[in-house]
Amino acid sequence: MRDRIVAFLVLLPSLVAVGIFVYGFIGQNLWVSLTDWGKNPAQALALRPELHFVGLENYRELFTGFVDVRFRQSVVNLIFFTLFFMGGSLGLGLLLAMALDRGPKGEGLFRTVFLFPMALSFVVTGTIWRWLLQPQGGINVLPTLFGLPPFHFPWLTTRQQTWVFDWNQLPFYTALAVGLTLLYVAWKAHQEGERKRLFWSLLSSGVLLVWAFTLGRTTHLLPYPEPHGFSLALVGVILAAVWQMSGYTMALYLAGLRGIPVEVLEAAKVDGASEWQTYRHVILPLLAPITLSAMIVLGHIALKIFDLIFAMAGLDYAPTDVPAIYMYLLAFRGNQFAKGAAIGILLLLLVALVVIPYLVSQLRKEVRR
């Protein structure tokens, strides 16, 4: 009992501090996002601003308002950035780790070299890569070293987009994606013989897919078509981000590879598994928990990305916009504090979507132990 009291007293200061400075301010931010702070310039920067409750108006404007087209492009950018950044870092990190795991000469040196970029701040990385990606220099003149003609891709300054879709089809695509995911869950449940889970996931996926193909096709967020797509200007940003973080995933994977018991590998060899089969059926499944942790870390870095893009393309360049940048522009340049707060809440939800399932599964594991 005394131990408990002491433990509680020791924890109390940090509990209070976290309660106020994290959860208190999240709560305040949520409240601000539901007000009209910034709509009336006389109140925006008054000493004691008068705020009025407007419900979800700010969120509605962000997703369907005429002038917030830039926010929608920034969300699309963020999704593509996150996918490619995570994929690139994981893939490259795994390859590097597998190469180093074979113990080449100078392994220690290479490990340091690959890990080094992680020690830089994103601002430094961004500045260096902005120079490298200048249309008339850096990467583009690289082929001339081998007597080839230079590239002409304008990297960060292109306005080209690919995979363009109409924002109005977002409900359809969202329902389709979630429905298919649920279908996959149902199939898994079927394999594992869990009838209850099979039933529910099959039912909800069915409802979603039916909705998607009937009402979903005619639900329109905007009265006019609004094209959004993957901005090719992001390719350069993704390159820089992958360059910076793949060393980190390499270190994680290398630790994972070294942690695989030799007996397991030898058993696989005895069973006559080829090198590829060993990787496919023994090593990669054993690395799955590491992949998951890496995905969480990379995922939340990607969702919060601001400084790298700030340094590489600046705040005003819409093709490389992400929500964090648009939030800064709205709140601190345009005095639209409520709308900025709304974007902040949306970003928090996105990060929570990535982190919470992970935390839950971790907690469960600990309880099981």
């Binding site: 920067l45 087209v69 830039r70 005003d316 601190f332 340049r333």
Partner: protein, 411 residues
């Protein structure tokens, strides 16, 4: 007798007290612009040696970072004693309407500034019968820069209208110049836009746009975007990756013929690149804007609740004085806002700008905070992005009008 002495002693003590204490000056002048501010502060220290001056600068061109810091400080109830702000709506639309500034009309009367500054400038500083900041310098936005020797080589003259400009552009393209107009990142494109708009709408039309009398969706205003689109066809395609200095470099190196930029470009070319104004490089009002001076100005205001109010007022007096302005501006590369400043202290470009400042019609710049509040200005970048992405004048005009309605422009 002793009472008298005591009274005199107290009075002396009080006046001495007024000249001690601190003065915190908040600005974004560092780097190239730092020496000009330091000279002004030195002058202040000569006059009020007992005051400790705190020079609080937050770097970042045009105050992009400083403004965010200032906002958090003001919201937290911790205003600096005086802060730098672009004169006009950037001050009024953000701080005056929120009732955070003191009216300086009596200071203007007392110092005779109502006569010393031109009326067009006083109008831009005024709102609801008050005058809200003291301008320290004047820059001009609508200037076209070129290298005379290069133009001679190509056999063209500086165009007087945008129609002439487009014709000249075609001539130059035929001579193998890929992009006759040098352009930089987003804000420099908006800067070009305001010169095109001023030429297309005229000074009255331009003012009507900001008072809400002329809609962005009016055919006249849509025509601005049409001309702007044609002008963009003459510009380099990698604009988004260039700073304004790099765009000026293109002209200096002969890769482009013209650049539209504010007259800080004169400072860059004469001080940094060591070119001689009027000989190595030359200038003209941007096409179609002869006789109009599109100005922007840095100014200092007095926030309510300043901790050292009297010291701040003394600072404002110095900032508005002839001595203060003629100390600051030759170093900053701008001109004095006063009509009575000494031309001998300025270089060839400054002298020519001073002549125009006295004789031209004065209008305010959009990009540099004079005519529209920040709530509009910050989203105008989005309008520009919509235009660059869609190339549709109507779409850009619709977006601009939607934002104008949203922020209540001209109300």
């Amino acid at each position: 007798m002793r009472k008298w002495l005591l009274a005199i002693g107290v009075a002396l003590g009080l006046s001495a007290l007024a000249q001690t204490g601190k003065l915190e000056i908040f600005s974004w002048w560092a780097g190239d612009e730092g020496p000009a501010l330091e000279a002004l502060i030195r002058l202040y220290k000569q006059k009020y040696p007992g005051v400790e001056v705190i020079n609080a600068t937050v770097t970042g061109g045009a105050g992009v970072n400083a403004k965010a810091v200032l906002k958090t400080r003001m919201l937290g109830g911790d205003p600096p004693d005086t802060f730098q702000v672009h004169a006009g709506q950037e001050l009024i639309g953000t701080w005056v309407v929120a009732d955070r500034m003191e009216d300086l009309t009596s200071l203007f009367r007392q110092e005779g500034w109502l006569q010393a500054f031109p009326k067009g400038l006083i109008d831009l500083l005024s709102y609801k019968r008050g005058i809200w900041s003291v301008p320290v310098n004047i820059h001009r936005s609508n200037v076209m820069w070129y290298i005379p020797a290069k133009l001679k080589e190509w056999g063209v003259t500086p165009p007087k209208t945008w129609a002439e400009f487009l014709a000249t552009c075609q001539t130059l393209k035929r001579k193998g110049l890929e992009a006759p107009l040098a352009l930089g990142e987003n804000w420099t494109q908006q800067h070009l836009w305001e010169s095109v708009a001023l030429a297309t709408l005229g000074a009255d039309g331009w003012n009507n746009l900001w008072s809400g009398k002329l809609k962005f969706t009016d055919p006249k205003a849509v025509a601005v975007w049409e001309t702007f689109g044609k002008v963009l066809d003459c510009a380099n395609k990698d604009a988004a990756g260039l700073s304004w200095q790099q765009a000026v470099d293109r002209v200096v190196q002969g890769k482009a013929a013209f650049n539209i930029m504010g007259d800080w470009a004169a400072g860059y070319m004469s001080t940094t690149l060591k070119l001689k104004p009027g000989v190595d490089f030359a200038w003209a009002p941007s096409p179609g804007t002869q006789g109009v001076f599109m100005m922007l100005s840095d100014s200092f205001g007095l926030p309510k609740g300043a901790k050292n109010r009297q010291n701040a007022i003394n600072w404002l007096k110095l900032v508005g004085s002839k001595e203060g302005q003629d100390t600051f501006n030759p170093l900053k590369g701008s001109i004095s806002a006063r009509l009575d400043s000494d031309p001998a202290k300025y270089n060839a470009y400054g002298q020519s700008a001073m002549k125009d400042w006295k004789s031209n019609r004065i209008v305010g710049s959009l990009v540099h905070g004079a005519v529209a509040p920040e709530s509009f200005m910050s989203q105008f970048g989005t309008v520009m992005e919509i235009f660059l992405q869609t190339k549709s004048p109507q779409a850009a005009a619709n977006a601009a009008q939607a934002i104008a309605n949203q922020v209540g422009l001209g109300r």
